[in-house]
């Protein structure tokens, strides 16, 4: 299960963009697996774990959407709020864009691009591309039709190709 956990953590990290949230999601998924499916055969744990994980990630996205709506009612029209201090900070390292394209940086770009995908497209992409599941297996995991999987995956790939096209992955 160790490799499954690592992959799960990375997927949660990509989906949330936050280390603590990713760890919380991983913990929830582990707990649910241990609580509900400990009696299942060991070869089923991997797929079950990924299904639970995806379900937790979807819950996270739903909660985030609700939270954003709630806070948008109370947020002021202050234009200073639009300024991202990290984006506007001076780069003290003085690295050129080419130098920034290190392995970590390109992974961050990839993470960010996947994170920007709609939740279902993200889900389909992770199952198909990262886990190597076929359309039928992905449809089963996502509890939707094979046609929907094809659509979500195709749209996800198109968007990623546009966003990552200029970068050397």
């Amino acid at each position: 299960m160790a490799s499954v956990e690592r992959r799960a953590y990375r997927k949660a990290e990509i989906a949330t963009g936050n280390l603590d949230d990713a760890m919380d999601i991983l913990q929830d998924a582990m707990y649910k697996l241990a609580q509900k499916y400990a009696g299942n055969p060991a070869n089923e744990w991997g797929p079950l774990f990924h299904t639970i994980l995806q379900s937790r990630i979807m819950d996270y996205h739903r909660r985030k959407t609700v939270r954003n709506k709630y806070f948008s009612w109370f947020s002021s029209d202050d234009k200073e709020g639009d300024l991202d201090p990290i984006q506007s900070a001076v780069d003290l390292t003085g690295k050129s864009p080419e130098e920034e394209m290190t392995q970590d940086a390109s992974m961050e770009i990839l993470d960010g691009s996947i994170r920007q995908l709609p939740a279902r497209q993200q889900q389909a992409f992770m199952f198909r591309a990262f886990e190597g599941l076929d359309v039928a297996e992905t449809a089963k995991m996502m509890k939707c039709s094979e046609g929907s999987v094809k659509t979500h995956y195709s749209r996800a790939l198109s968007k990623l190709r546009v966003k990552l096209g200029d970068y050397k992955i």
């Binding site: 490799s3 990375r10 760890m23 582990m30 992974m107 790939l157």
Partner: protein, 110 residues
Amino acid sequence: MNEDNEIFVYKLRNRFEESVKGIDATTLSKIRQTRAQVLAKSKYKGKNYLIWIPAGAFASVCMALLVFSIVPQRNVEDQTFIDEINIISDLDLYENLDFYEWLEQHELPS
């Protein structure tokens, strides 16, 4: 899926696998700790039913004490009730009712 897409996906998957292998030691330690916590928690929860064994035994003892403390009293009450029935059902009394009425009227000691 066309060949371009296949290559693209292959590259993305490789990058993902690399990032999985490159998870830092601190995070790996956290993951291990989380797993240990979850397992400990679920084991404890799984054995919750053991709590009911002493609780059940205690309840049984209490129930037994309650039953045994009530049953003898009921036996005494039952015996008294049976005695009363016996007195009421004493046929001699009913047969001599006239005599007892006469005794009462003449205030003779019974």
